[in-house]
């Protein structure tokens, strides 16, 4: 083995070592959640560290479902996260197209107007929005959860603009020659060519919406309207002595798995689509 080859192998081994340790350390705090979800409830507090459930069981899921409507929560999470995602895309994709491929008076100003909201913390708008929701009698409705969560689209508009800009102009020229109007250029040329970007943004939006915590806590009241994230908060709010760790952790696991699956399936997509800057001039 040559010295150069050896040094490269050594390099790679070090890299893997560092990454492996970092990955395990990152997942470690969640280890307990995973094992506790499958450990009988009365055994859980007996040990601080557990790498494997002593008597693996699914009873915690049944127990959780008998205490709280966790399947309804799961459905609510899917419903709200999906609608928020669709809403964001409906707003952001056409806007990104117009900002990226059309020239019109005020384009720059309007673009910055939308993009500047990327740096707005959501908590800032929370009080006036809360008052509006209450005064409009929308308190404790899915609408109150969904509608105000949609307009955080600065990020999405920015990305869609980049995605549309990176398409070669010749594509659109050709369509124009064929007499395609703007709408057809958008739906027939634009959208099909930026599907990876749309997919990536959908996943990111879905994950974000899945985890909306403070706002959901505030406006969802009925226990059948809660999402998993807010439901778990109510579950975990019980005082220590009354906490049922097993069912709580089972529900927590339930809240993580769907999003994790989506992420794992889509991660290639995301990584390919999420790079801004590959610009065509």
């Amino acid at each position: 083995m040559s010295a150069a080859l050896f040094s490269r192998a050594f390099h790679r081994a070090v890299l893997h070592g560092v990454l492996l340790i970092t990955s395990l350390a990152t997942v470690f705090p969640l280890m307990w959640m995973i094992t506790a979800a499958f450990t009988p409830n009365d055994l859980i507090t007996a040990r601080a560290i557990r790498l494997w459930p002593e008597e693996p069981t699914l009873a915690n899921f049944a127990e959780a479902a008998s205490r709280h409507p966790i399947w309804t929560w799961l459905w609510n999470s899917i419903l709200t996260a999906t609608l928020i995602t669709v809403g964001k895309l409906v707003l952001a994709v056409p806007a990104g197209f117009a900002f990226g491929r059309m020239s019109f008076p005020g384009r720059r100003t309007l673009f910055w107007f939308v993009i500047a909201t990327m740096s707005f913390p959501t908590v800032l708008a929370i009080i006036p929005t809360y008052i509006a929701v209450v005064k409009l009698q929308a308190f404790d409705t899915y609408g109150a959860m969904i509608v105000p969560s949609i307009p955080y689209i600065g990020f999405y508009v920015f990305y869609m603009r980049q995605a549309f800009r990176s398409l070669p102009s010749s594509m659109f020229e050709a369509a124009r020659m064929d007499g395609a109007g703007l709408w057809r250029q958008f739906t027939e040329i634009g959208i099909p060519n930026v599907l990876p970007a749309i997919a990536a943004l959908s996943v990111i939006s879905f994950m974000g919406a899945w985890n909306i915590y403070l706002w959901g806590q505030l406006v969802l009241e009925d226990r059948f309207k809660k999402t998993l994230t807010t439901g778990i908060a109510a579950f975990a709010d019980l005082e220590g002595a009354d906490r049922v760790w097993g069912p709580l952790m089972a529900t927590s696991l339930l809240s993580v798995v769907p999003v994790l699956l989506i992420f794992l399936l889509a991660q290639r997509f995301i990584v390919e689509a999420l790079a801004p800057g590959a610009d065509e001039r």
């Binding site: 507090t45 007996a46 205490r67 005064k135 009241e221 109510a234 709010d237 005082e239 220590g240």
Partner: protein, 415 residues
Amino acid sequence: MFEISRRQFMAGVAVSAGAGVMKSAPARSADAAVEVSSPWGADKPFQKVVDAFNAKKLGVTVTNRFDGDYESAIAKAVASTAAGRPPAMMITGWKFGYFARRTLGVRDLRDIDPARAGAILANFRPSVLPLVTIDGAVIGLPWAMSTPITFINSSLWREAGLDPALPENPDTQWLYENARKLDAALKGKHPTYRSALALSNNEWTSQSFIQNAGGYIIDPDGKLALDSPEAVIGMTEYCAPAHEGLWIPVSGKEQDASFESGALAICTTSSTRAATFPFGHAKAVTAKFPGLAGHPRRLNSGGNFLAVYARNKEQAEASLAFLEFCASKEGQSIWAAVGYLNTSLHDVPLINDFMKPAAAQLADGLTAETIWPGKRGLEGQEVWRKWVSRMLLKEVTVPDGLKGAHQELDVLISG
């Protein structure tokens, strides 16, 4: 194929809709429906009270809605009240009495029906009625009272070789001395033991110390009294174990978790824990809350009240029907399982012997937790807790901490 599956689907919908109706079957369509916002889920004894009431089929159907702790339930009540549909009934802490009356507009029970209200309240000890009388209005049922008591992990106590016979009226000298012995005996030698003592930084314990020293947080004239020498004596004694390292102050949840896992040997907290701690891993035994040697004991209590917020006559009267049941001997007997003290005149047996110190404290006489007055009273508890934290952590000296708390609270509650 499509048709069939569609029909099957529709049939499925019909069945599940039917099941939905079945679940709420006891409710006849003519029943008045009353929803109670509560801090307890469906697995708690309060649900049993609700179920027992509904089983009587009195033409009123009550549903229990779990809304989290008092603070989050209050926040939701503000929102739904502003939206024009306040909860028909809500359970909240005594400490929020002023807020409930002045801001949320809780109903005076006597305004709904003076005769029935009088009959309901006649079930309770006269001494607890002032707790639910705010600005001259009777704002609810004073049905839940707890008081801080001492919980001791019996096996840690035994392993440290301490005397299993606990004094009837323990004082801090006795408690701290035993905590020191326990720590010396077990520290670093026991697989689960980690810390000797926790007094809780919650609504009641610091107030108890001040009162035991002869002082007040808010004196009987309604004036803030944290600048008194008695308050300094009480808080110095309260902070001593933290300054000495016997007590590591943590949040209530973490404290409970440590105690249950056998890491914490002694903790003073709400007597409602007597329903759980003795039967868990810690096998707790109980004693009264420590007094101050050489001072008369003047302990306090905390609790919650069940109140009516419904504006319309039908709902308000239906709510009274539920209150009547809750105040009755039958209702109180089911309710007792939560672990609260019996505030009614009914003869309700203690749920277990671990409740005895709490019952004895009630017999000795209890004062109320602080009901923070003023428009910004909601913040009072939070501000006081923050200053207690500073004193515990030695960020300020006890006299300076009390001075700071006095000044900040004075602005809040006089406004």
